[in-house]
Symmetry: C2
Subunit: 231 residues, 2 copies
């Protein structure tokens, strides 16, 4: 019988923010997939490592996120074959992913590829980074009848400005690119006072800056801005 | 020495979706606050109960959500006094809340009231219901450069339509009120094919309906719609 494929959200950084279900699941599977995007180690694996059983089969797979899209596709198809092979051997396989699996993750692509081939899949939800950032910073995200927009800073600029114009509560992700122009945009739309920048939430080197930071600095890759419009 | 106030996200329903940190924390505190909004029992307590130690002091507090706002305020101030009293006695207190504490929760108001009085507060993040709904339904929420709007169906109609017009990925919360007009609005804005309604996610009576459901039915209070615009 073919194995089950589990997508495991390991949460934002603190190993204690895995769910009980995630811990139980990675302790019962036969193989654990640790995805990484390049040379650096897998952050998801570092977070989950305290919970892994010693004799688990650990499979490192590289999912390129930069460079030519054709090269990615080829690498991803190869990865799918590796995972499909393990499942065909009857092994249950857990795929580790940062935050929540269905929310801005590499897992989504793997999920679709394996779903097309009819594999049995179970997704184990996790705490998204923006919730943990709000908790660590003591920054309520959204309440009552308010709308929350979650915007990657890599989106089209018109779309980002549209969100800033339309809604009073924002989560900005992937803010390490073009940070200065993003900060200027936030200030222009009245988000300067009630904002917080959280970097490496729950990881070594965590940094929390209340109010919009001064521009010009380098912002860590794992950074999120939470903001509410000034009243 | 005054105690510490912990806000504990218990996640959406499945007791195994509490984080390891939430379980550890409710096992070390002296008192646990189970909030409820009226006559019915506390859903957050039902979810956390398997993890509670037997001799913990359990405090039921009613936080009214309906009726006159002045009456609420009075009740909430009274609740704050009860919690403040426990903290002054040197007790560590955990306040249970559905999903994530900083995301559409009663906890936010309690957090603000206690923060004003200078209490030491720690928030333990949880899995929000919309992530768990996506996981259970096998419905990827948002990826790449897309924007996700999270909209309570109790928001102003113009604001709901603005979100539907502007962005391709939606989470609609509190959809049990005016469900038919909401479904019509979704269909009008091209969200009819890629949508799923998830009720009582991870709780007894869980229901998952793919595609927009037919109107006219009664929808459970704990229901969420996830939708992506048709292409």
């Amino acid at each position: 019988m073919a194995g089950i494929f589990y997508g495991i959200g390991v949460g934002p950084g603190d190993p204690d923010l895995l769910t009980v279900k995630a811990v139980k699941t990675i302790n019962k599977v036969d193989a654990v997939i640790a995805p990484k995007s390049g040379e650096a180690g897998s952050t998801a694996l570092a977070i989950a490592r305290p919970h892994l059983k010693k004799d688990v089969e650990l499979v490192n797979l590289v999912f390129p996120m930069a460079g030519k899209q054709e090269d990615w596709r080829e690498a991803w198809r190869e990865n799918k074959k590796v995972i499909g092979g393990l499942l065909q051997e009857g092994k249950d396989v857990a795929f580790l992913t940062l935050g929540d699996p269905m929310f801005f993750s590499t897992y989504i692509y793997v999920f679709r590829l394996l779903q097309e081939e009819g594999h049995t899949i179970e997704t184990v939800s996790g705490v998204p980074a923006f919730c943990a950032a709000a908790g660590r910073a003591g920054f309520p995200l959204v309440e009552g009848d308010e709308v929350l927009s979650i915007v990657p800073a890599t989106a089209d600029q018109a779309m980002i400005e549209n969100a800033m114009r339309s809604f009073n509560n924002l989560v900005l992700m992937k803010v390490s690119r073009d940070t200065d122009s993003l900060l200027a945009m936030l200030a222009r739309h009245g988000f300067s006072r009630n904002a917080v920048l959280v970097s490496r939430c729950g990881l070594p080197g965590e940094d929390i800056v209340h109010g919009l930071p001064e521009g010009g600095g380098k912002v860590n890759y794992l950074s999120t801005i939470l903001a509410r419009r000034d009243r």
